[in-house]
Symmetry: C2
Subunit: 328 residues, 2 copies
């Protein structure tokens, strides 16, 4: 009897603290060898992509798949289905548009916890969309934030972001008209943009990096998308990634860094390694970068957290199980 959760249900059932913990636990399960999460399959449609991200977690007893299609230009539809890994029963199907933004933020939260300076208090944000919001939210869960500056090309958007965030968190959030000014003096930077296919549309430059800074870049998740320049990779001392193979293969930013010769494999740490004692910042002066494209394990554990919360809050619609269990 699967629980169908629409976008409103999912929004209500998203608890960022819970999802950060779920993502951290999920990556730890991955580190311990109890997770199968193959490279996602990217199929090409007439107007965009059709992407498939399955994941099986044997010890946690969780499995599922995210299926999404469209393009950054025309919009994307996301669905996640989660199953009881032991019995094979479908537990829930949910709209995963908002959830994808939340789990991306939560993953940045985990990265920022391990990679930013402990005393980080100032955040610079480039972008004002859903991911900019969820990334900032997650960061407030892992560091004591005192002030934020935000840049977004549209004045109205950055001002709304500043007002809403300031009201929500109780610390000052300044909208600024220059991206460099937004990140100058920041301890933690978020680059969360939706640059749509323009190779010259770089939102953040490595020239702007300052000693001790930690930068999260979570956009540019397709080969034709860009948001950070090659020098961002070059100037970072340590680079954390959610999936080395996928970040290298899928992001237009990575392709540019590889082409410009600023991709140094020895700088990279993959998130599961954090749970095996590998560090991703050696001292307070290092510049660190987190670059993510999203993995199936993030989606599945976030969806399970939403499912549990939705049951508590009695959200969604239980539909009759329309899947026969075929016995041979």
């Amino acid at each position: 009897m699967p629980l169908v959760l629409d976008s409103d249900d999912v929004r209500q059932a998203c608890d960022m603290a819970q999802i950060i913990k779920s993502v951290e636990d999920g990556i730890n399960e991955q580190a311990q060898g109890f997770v199968e999460v193959p490279m996602r399959q990217n199929l090409t449609t007439s107007n965009g992509f059709f992407r498939v991200m399955p994941c099986v977690m044997t010890r946690a007893g969780k499995m599922g798949i995210k299926v999404f299609n469209g393009s950054v230009e025309t919009g994307v539809r996301y669905i996640i289905m989660i199953y009881d890994e032991k019995t094979g029963e479908l537990l829930s199907m949910m709209d995963a548009a908002y959830l994808t933004g939340v789990r991306t933020g939560a993953t940045t939260g985990v990265a920022t916890k391990y990679q930013s300076r402990q005393d980080s208090s100032r955040v610079g944000v480039i972008g004002s969309g859903l991911e900019a919001k969820t990334n900032l939210e997650a960061i407030t869960h892992v560091r004591e934030i005192e002030s934020v500056s935000v840049f977004s090309p549209t004045k109205r958007n950055r001002e709304i972001f500043a007002r809403e965030s300031s009201e929500r968190y109780g610390f000052p959030v300044h909208a600024v008209s220059d991206p460099k000014k937004a990140v100058s003096g920041a301890d933690i930077v978020v680059v969360a943009t939706n640059t749509t296919g323009h190779a010259d549309n770089i939102a953040y430059y490595g020239d702007w990096m300052e000693p001790g800074q930690h930068i999260n870049s979570i956009g540019a998740t397709g080969g034709h998308l860009r948001e950070i320049d090659p020098l961002t990779f070059g100037n970072a001392n340590r680079i954390l990634v959610d999936s080395y193979a996928q970040v290298k293969e899928e992001s237009g930013d990575s392709a540019a860094a590889l082409a410009y010769g600023t991709w140094d494999e020895s700088k990279f740490v993959e998130m599961p390694a954090l749970f095996k004692g590998v560090t991703c910042r050696d001292d307070d002066n290092q510049i660190t970068l987190f670059k993510s494209v999203g993995t199936g394990v993030q989606d599945i554990v976030a969806a399970f957290a939403v499912y549990e919360q939705a049951k508590k809050l009695e959200l969604g619609v239980l539909v009759e199980d329309f899947m026969e269990h075929k016995i041979f």
Copy 2:
């Protein structure tokens, strides 16, 4: 507003003639280069598998995915989701347990049309489950069948199969107690078994092959499953497959033939090649084999055929579109 179809709806909406035509058209689309159908992803769960088969058909404007989990031993749950390939809209979610059996039969129908002798009239069936039924049904659509013999290890099962098939098609169907007797003198053989993991549990031997015969083997779709022996590959003059890479990699029968040295690559033809003028039978004396494991294109075109038929018959439940179209 996706249409949810449960197993009863799907059964009612399955029209074999339509699905054979859909599978044939789909493989033709594949031959013309308008289909992306990657190798299916097989993940391992605590008690079986979690499999994912996406497919995008750009010219036909169809796309979708089959997701199924479980094992032959404990049972399997199947779901197919189909989308409008142009708009990205989810059109339908359906139980695909029965449909998988039907599309497997339909694909055998296409193979038998191209590979069996035109004057084939006698069919030998080994197996009495869903796939044995759908395979026989499909064969009656492409050849003028006059009589059938069926073997299944359980007397009751083969007798029920014989009685029901005879009533349905109007030709004699004999239940026999010996598999060799079932296929002796047959023009077309169907091997559709669910041998569960016993390496010695071979249902059909190449020794039994007769000149001019055409054999369809559609079971043994996992590495630990078997139904035909290595000599079946060795004695066949031409071998048709739905996906060369998948048949070679996924079937326990293929692994055995490779190990025994009876796998001769030069004998193989992949189904799409049929639509580019390649033949899979050169004369009436050749022995031909069709070996399939199932591909995403078969699933998606079959699901679209069911969806269209279900709309005509006003079956299923339209559910509110719970997937937000996220605009960036």
